[in-house]
Each structure stands twice: as C-alpha cells, then as structure tokens.
C-alpha cells in the first residue's frame, strides 16, 4: 500500500535509536527495525513530509499503523506475561559435592547436612503445585546443589511427574542439571528411559575447568567429558528406541581464568561432540562475590573474549563444523524473527514468577532460581509462598508484581530509549544483589554493559552477508 496519507499531518514515532558514526539504527517495540543514514534521520526529524515507505511498513508513522500485525509481534516478544510459569525449578538438595569458585547457590561447604535435601512428600507437592498452574506446557528442571545427591527422591519424582502427565492434558518435559560426579549407568538409563534431558557445566579445557570448578581429587573435568560423550553416543544411536533421547547440553561460566582461552573453549566443545555452547559471564553474587578478586571479569574483558569466541565459531561453521552459541542465537532470534528467544532473563518484563518459579528444598517458592540462590545467602525478599499455599496467591505475590514493574524496560529511563530494548531484558534480582535496588542503575549495570556489547557485536557481524546467513541458520535449529 502506498502512503496515501502523505498530505495529512504525520507523527514519526521515533523513541529509541542508536547513532553510530554516519548511520542510525532505529527500532520500536513491535518488531520494527530500520538502519538509515544520519542525514536522512535528521531530515525526517526536522521535516516529516516525505517519509519513505519502509517507515510506514515498520510501524514508525502514527497514521498508518497495522494494529493486528504489530500486536502479534508484541505478543511474540512478550508471551511470558500472558501465561503462567512454564519452567518449574526443583532444588533437590542444597548440598553439593563440589566447591566451584563462582557458586551462586550457597552450596560450597555443605556436603553432609541431610536436612538440606528435599523430601519426597515436598517434591510431590511441588509437582502437584505445577500441575495446578494454568500453563499447558510444563518444564521441570532438577537443580541443586547437586541433585544426584538426592537420587531416590529425584527418581521417584520423575516417575510421579510422568504419571501425572499421563492423567493430564499438559505437555511435559524434564531436565536435569548435574555435575555428573555421582552419575552411573543405572541412573543414566533411568533418565534416558524417562526422557530427561541432561545439562552440565564445562568451562573449557582441563586447566580452565579445574581452576573454576573444584572437586575432590580434581575429577570433575574427566567425569563431565566422559558423560557428555556417553549421552551424545546415546543420542546418536537412538533409532529404534521406544523413547526420545536428547542431545546433552553444557554451559560455560566465563571468569578471569577463561581470558586468553576463547578458541580452546570452543575446541573443547567440538571435541566433546556438542553442537551448542552457552557462554555467560560470572555474576558477582554468592560465593563468586567472595572470590571476585580472583575470578571477576569486567564487561569489556567479557565482550573481548566473546567476540573472539563467536568469530571462531563462525570460522568453524564456514569450514562445515556444526556448532552454535546460545546467547548469540537468542539475540538473533529476537532481531531476525521478532521472537522471545526463550530466555526469561532477556524478556521485558522478565519471567520472574510468570515464566518460571523455583522451589527450594524446603518447599518455599521463589520468583526464579537467582532469587532462590539469594535466599540461600539469607535474603528472602523474593519468596512468593510455599507449596502448601494456593496457586493464585503465589503467582500474584507482591514480589512477582514488583519484579514485573522493575523489569519492564519502559519503566527504566535508559532502557526505554535504547535501540536494543526489543532484544534485551534486565534481572531485578541481579540488580538488587549488585546495586541494592530492584530497578538498579543501567548506567553502571554490569549486565547492561554485557548485553549492549553483545548486541553491538551482532549488528557489526551482520553487516557481512555471509555471517548474516549463517546466524539466520542458527535460529532455524
């Protein structure tokens, strides 16, 4: 449709942009994204008479808005506010058999106190609670501490979930986050047969992994590699099986020890047979805050390593190696597909209490796992109830509403004017833990600097058509 209404008074809806040398990136909350020259931007601002068609098509002109299309785009990126939690994190135990330098879960040093284990009765109540929430999709995630330390309760809970699933109309998935130290063939078979997807932590080559993740006799690295390979082989040979096997996943926590090892980290993942890696910087929360001088990393250091890593991944892709980086994939999903990306930390508002909830070992419920970790440090601010409370009361608790308000980017002075608003999100728990308020201050916020650095880099990358094509393929996976 041509812009027939040119004669009428038009208002250009320019609210968020980023100026970069001679060009401007202009975005809106409804999927609109235009890159234009600084000259054109200034001309339009001074005199909006000859507006190019693409500004009408992308929802930047007040008189020609396609409400249906723009509304759908908004829904795609804000779907978590319209649902109830899909991710239900069950902390099987607060005990752990490792002592990682960056642990946020308050687990180090707690090895033998069995009162920190979730009872089967509580676990079943958590499951019942989740099934009572209205979401048609439920993802149960077993975490800790180290969840395998409470194997009997974990395995019984898996059976209970599958039984409840067969009696309900909900789509259910189950995942386990483990350091694998207590993994054995019997447990592995049980998990595979019950379609539990598996994820672990692999921080890179042996020397880097060992520095970050301390275990008795330093066995962690070999054990993680062994079981990642095992689950990978099972994934590759699943033809004819009556159950579905998922490819195992792993995440990297980037610390000062990772600097200078970007390529080796990627090579480690490729040699472990993994096709994706998820990089994230260490957060100055919990035990990591205590060890910040030895492991802390600045946003600039992280971005420098991140760029090196992604450039190397793209080089491998061009040689035919199949591997992607998840954080980059999430941002690309938001940039190219106007989707949510599936990461509640990067939604606006964030998914605290609406996309996810976390059940601590004692049955207390928190807005998210970070909130639950903060509680392990003695601060219960984000507790929203208990498994014995009615669902409605928990999901509408004060802390849920406070998190919604604080993480809605339009209520943040800097974010509301930021060109990257449609691709970004903030974490009120992180803000509270590191800056003393749920809103935080984005001018000095660590995560804001990291997210901006990553998105800057992606926009730089996609100036190259070949890179753009590769990154678009990442989001098809």
């Amino acid at each position: 449709m041509e812009n027939k209404q040119q004669n009428k008074k038009q208002t250009l809806l320019f609210q968020q942009w980023k100026k970069n040398k001679d060009h401007v990136l202009l975005t809106n909350d409804f999927g609109g994204r235009i890159e234009l020259s600084g000259k054109l931007f200034n001309e339009l601002c001074d005199n909006p008479d000859n507006i190019p068609q693409q500004f009408f098509d992308n929802g930047f002109v007040s008189e020609m808005l396609d409400f249906g299309k723009l509304g759908l785009s908004w829904l795609n990126t804000h779907c978590n506010v319209c649902l109830s939690p899909t991710l239900h994190i069950l902390v099987m135990t607060a005990r752990c058999n490792m002592q990682c330098l960056y642990c946020q879960a308050g687990a180090p040093g707690r090895k033998k106190d069995m009162s920190l284990d979730m009872s089967l009765e509580t676990a079943k109540k958590c499951v019942d609670f989740a099934f009572k929430t209205p979401s048609p999709v439920l993802n149960f995630e077993f975490q800790g501490g180290e969840p395998l330390l409470n194997w009997n309760v974990l395995s019984e809970t898996v059976k209970y979930i599958r039984q409840k699933e067969s009696e309900s109309d909900k789509d259910v998935s189950i995942s386990l986050i483990s350091n694998f130290i207590l993994m054995d063939e019997e447990k592995a078979n049980f998990l595979l047969q019950n379609e539990v997807s598996i994820c672990s932590s692999l921080d890179g080559p042996e020397n880097v992994h060992k520095k970050n993740r301390h275990s008795e006799n330093d066995i962690s690295y070999n054990i993680v590699c062994k079981w990642l390979k095992y689950f990978n082989q099972k994934y590759d040979s699943q033809l004819g099986k009556a159950y579905k096997i998922f490819r195992p996943g792993a995440i990297i926590t980037v610390t000062k020890n990772s600097i200078g090892h970007a390529k080796e980290i990627i090579d480690e993942y490729v040699s472990a047979g993994l096709e994706s890696l998820y990089m994230r910087p260490v957060s100055q929360i919990g035990y990591a805050a205590v060890n910040w001088n030895s492991i802390g990393i600045s946003p600039a250091e992280y971005i420098s390593l991140y760029k090196e890593a992604i450039n190397y991944v793209l080089t491998l892709n061009k040689k035919g190696v199949s591997i992607i980086e998840k954080a980059c994939q999430i941002f690309c999903e938001k940039i190219f597909n106007v989707g949510s990306g599936g990461n509640y930390d990067l939604d606006s508002p964030c998914g605290a209490g609406t996309g996810q909830i976390a059940y601590n070992y004692d049955g207390n419920i928190y807005t998210c796992d970070e909130a639950r970790m903060l509680a392990m440090e003695g601060d219960d601010l984000f507790r929203i109830g208990n498994v014995n409370d009615p669902v409605e009361k928990v999901l509408t608790a004060d802390a849920v509403r406070a998190c919604k308000y604080a993480s809605e980017l339009n209520s943040q002075p800097l974010c509301s004017r930021c060109a990257y608003k449609p691709y970004c999100g903030i974490c009120p728990v992180f803000n509270y833990a590191t800056q003393g308020s749920l809103f935080g201050n984005m001018a000095t916020n660590f995560r804001c600097a990291v997210n901006k650095g990553q998105i800057d880099f992606i926009f730089e990358l996609i100036k190259d058509k070949e890179n753009e094509e590769i990154l678009k393929k990442w989001i098809q996976r």
């Binding site: 250009l12 601002c45 829904l75 319209c82 067969s166 800097l414």
Partner: protein, 148 residues
C-alpha cells in the same frame, strides 16, 4: 576533582529532558541540578575518576537534543502503543478460550480414540454382513451395479 557547569534554558528544553540527559551521564560524573535565574537550570558536573570532561559535555548536549526529538512524539507513541497492546490481548484471549474447550486428559483422549476405532470396526463388519443380504443393491456403488 574536575568540575564544570552547563546552564540550560527551560525555554529550549523541558525539565524532564534536562533531568534525563543528566541521568545518562551518571556513570561518568556526579550531576547536580538546581534552578539558576528565571527559566534557567544549572547543571553541575563533578567528574568521576578516569573520565573526560569534553566527552561528558558533548554527550549531555547530544542527549538533550535527542530527548527533544522524542518529546515531539512521546504522547502519540504512548497512545498508539497502548492501542496495539490492547489489540494483542484481545487476540490472546480468543486463543486461550479455544484451548480451554478441550477438557479431556491424554489418557482419556487415548481411550476415546480406542472406542471410536472399535465402533468403526463394528460398523464396518455390519456393513459387510448386510451387503450379502442386499437384494436391492442399496449398499453398492453405481460402478459396482452398472459398471462392466
């Protein structure tokens, strides 16, 4: 500590624009706002260590200009956004209602499928039986009755 002042006229910029532009520089400087003479605001910067006065000054002035552009369309933008989001919620309500209509559990759905299959089989076998007694060839197709 390095310090400097910028005086801004309220005839050119709103107080909100000045306040926002000042806030954007709080990573680099402590910023204090006070009314100077009539319709003038004094913006006082106390630099934080390691940052450059000229960079902060030009960034502050640029933010003021940018905020002026945003203010031109802010009210229209907010009204349009609210309408778009309202519209989006209308759509999601409809799709939720549709989903809620399915009240069967997976187990019940499987049982129902099984029952339907059994009934279909019974009907089929009855049809087969009836066909043999079908003197008037009612159950036969036109091709079966008239074809060569």
């Amino acid at each position: 500590m390095k310090q400097f002042d910028i005086v801004v006229s309220l005839e050119n910029y709103s107080i909100n624009a000045i306040r926002y532009a000042a806030y954007t520089q709080t990573n680099y400087a402590w910023v204090y706002l006070s009314f100077a003479e009539k319709a003038l605001v004094n913006v006082h910067f106390v630099m934080k260590a390691g940052h450059d006065i000229e960079t902060v000054k030009s960034a502050f002035l640029q933010e003021l200009e940018d905020e002026k552009i945003r203010e031109k369309s802010r009210a229209v933008n907010v009204a349009a956004s609210i309408e778009i989001i309202k519209n989006a919620f209308k759509n999601i309500n409809v799709s939720f209602l549709k989903e809620e209509k399915s009240v069967l559990t997976k187990k019940q759905e499987l049982e129902l499928d099984k029952l339907i299959e059994e009934v279909e089989k019974e009907l089929q076998s009855e049809m087969e039986l009836n066909k043999s007694d079908d003197i008037k060839h009612i159950t036969k197709t036109w091709e079966e009755t008239n074809g060569k």
